[in-house]
Symmetry: D2
Subunit: 183 residues, 4 copies
Amino acid sequence: MNLKQDYLFLIHFARAYALAAYKSRSLADLRQAHEGLKAIVDLELGLHVDYCREWGISETELEALPEARATLAYTRYVLDTGHRGDLLDLHVALAPCVIGYGEVADWINQRPTTVRGEANPFDAWIGMYESEEFRAAMTAEREWIDARLAGATPERFDELVTVFRDATRLEIDFWAMGLEERE
Amino acid sequence: MNLKQDYLFLIHFARAYALAAYKSRSLADLRQAHEGLKAIVDLELGLHVDYCREWGISETELEALPEARATLAYTRYVLDTGHRGDLLDLHVALAPCVIGYGEVADWINQRPTTVRGEANPFDAWIGMYESEEFRAAMTAEREWIDARLAGATPERFDELVTVFRDATRLEIDFWAMGLEERE
Amino acid sequence: MNLKQDYLFLIHFARAYALAAYKSRSLADLRQAHEGLKAIVDLELGLHVDYCREWGISETELEALPEARATLAYTRYVLDTGHRGDLLDLHVALAPCVIGYGEVADWINQRPTTVRGEANPFDAWIGMYESEEFRAAMTAEREWIDARLAGATPERFDELVTVFRDATRLEIDFWAMGLEERE
Amino acid sequence: MNLKQDYLFLIHFARAYALAAYKSRSLADLRQAHEGLKAIVDLELGLHVDYCREWGISETELEALPEARATLAYTRYVLDTGHRGDLLDLHVALAPCVIGYGEVADWINQRPTTVRGEANPFDAWIGMYESEEFRAAMTAEREWIDARLAGATPERFDELVTVFRDATRLEIDFWAMGLEERE
């Protein structure tokens, strides 16, 4: 199920990067947002469509897919947060995904029980989040957010903590959707 | 729990009517959206804050409330649908609430087992959805939507069916949140 | 001409207050934005439609009016600034109107050559900006903005200066439209 | 002056394509909007920055540029039209640029007095709008709009005519800005 929902998730995350491009005030921010959008549209969505095809799921089927509640909740929260606030709100709402996945991959790797290589069906997944490209994007994102948090008032910081907490809860639900179905 | 979450729900539905006012192209649409916003801000939110106070819940506590997942999912879906599409998309996303509650009240009233009056703790709730004001707003909403659906192409109608179906699913989850906690 | 364009200006300023309501994060901000919207929809637009009727201009005619370039430029700049940034950006874009008109009225009153009373066809206009209601709204707006500017970093302050400067230029053009046509 | 303002124009048109990507409902629409954004960010903005550098204008100078009124008016009208309406409104607001420039190039070429080649300082400009890439994009845009106009009700068509007319007026003003200064 998550394989299919990931497709819908990617579509809405592409929309979130597009919103970030729309909200940009500098050419640097516009370019950064565009790189995120490009990575999804030109690369990740294509890989995902190919991958689904291998599992017998066509692009037409993907387009007609009903969205799961967890997908709706997470993606629309990110998008509304971007419209309601400023570009920093949107980045903080995206952080559980953009930065969080790298953190999770690190944590998995540091566990003594983690098996890598062909014996682990998720090895490629962990590998992607170890890739140089992903680490560079993750570091850039963290630096961008940190630079802006440095000037935030305590009230503003509290608002952003709420955004990060809510987005993280909804990201957890999105993962749990896959786990719950498996068992 | 739903009593508190209803407060957050009302805030975001006020934001949805504000978005409808923003998107309006005619003075008639602007006025209609404003009436919806005014009903929430000047009337319903006040009643709700008063009502919560009776149950020992202060306005400060309401403001600090973490949002339940079902509240986040439903309200943000409506808001993003409004931004993504046009004013009709937004109205259709609001319809499960604006028209649906009246339908539910009618259905409850028509059941032979329904008890009205003081013996039913929800009697006032059913009463509100029978009130002349609510029925007038519900009828106006249905007529507004029907007038626009009359000119919709089949493709457009399908898009709106998806919006209505998803909003209805999320509305059901919002109600279920109360039921699940009770048991 | 400005009499008619003012009608269109009011419609779009109503949309700007609606956008402020949409973007609000606290009930206090939502209520404040709603008061601004209500003042336009329930009061100012009605007065304006009445006033135009006296001059032989019907509401239908007002609705069909082509928008002047200066109206398009000013109002859409305010609206896009609100979407691109946060609620403070939107308030700063509105300030040349909300605070500026009161400042202009004060400046006119302090000039030794200013004539008040029936001899001045604009006496009612100056009077409105002297009214207790307007002064209260103007003061509230200034305090709201000042409270938020207090915590702004220099970079953020510069962004807001650009917004204020551009909105003021476009507000001046809107006034100039009337002057140029008269002569 | 237009050379510098074109830079700002491109930034806001990139934001308009980003908004189109945000508003997309199908992967096809998302990809199409992304191609428009990519063409500006990865190609046109770079060419423009290079071109300005040849004329002694640095990227820093471009970023600090005050926006001309005609630039503000046109770009913000397009952006607000996209937020207020749906994806078709946004495309129609972009059409005077996306389709119009090709039409203008054709019209210039068909005039007996038009000189092509090195004797015409704008020869490269006309050439760009004759290029296969531009003609393909222009044709795709026209077909996209025509397909949607086919199902539009007369009321909807009138709304879109207003959008097209207003966007065209503001596009003309943008060009006139260059002419007026030259003379």
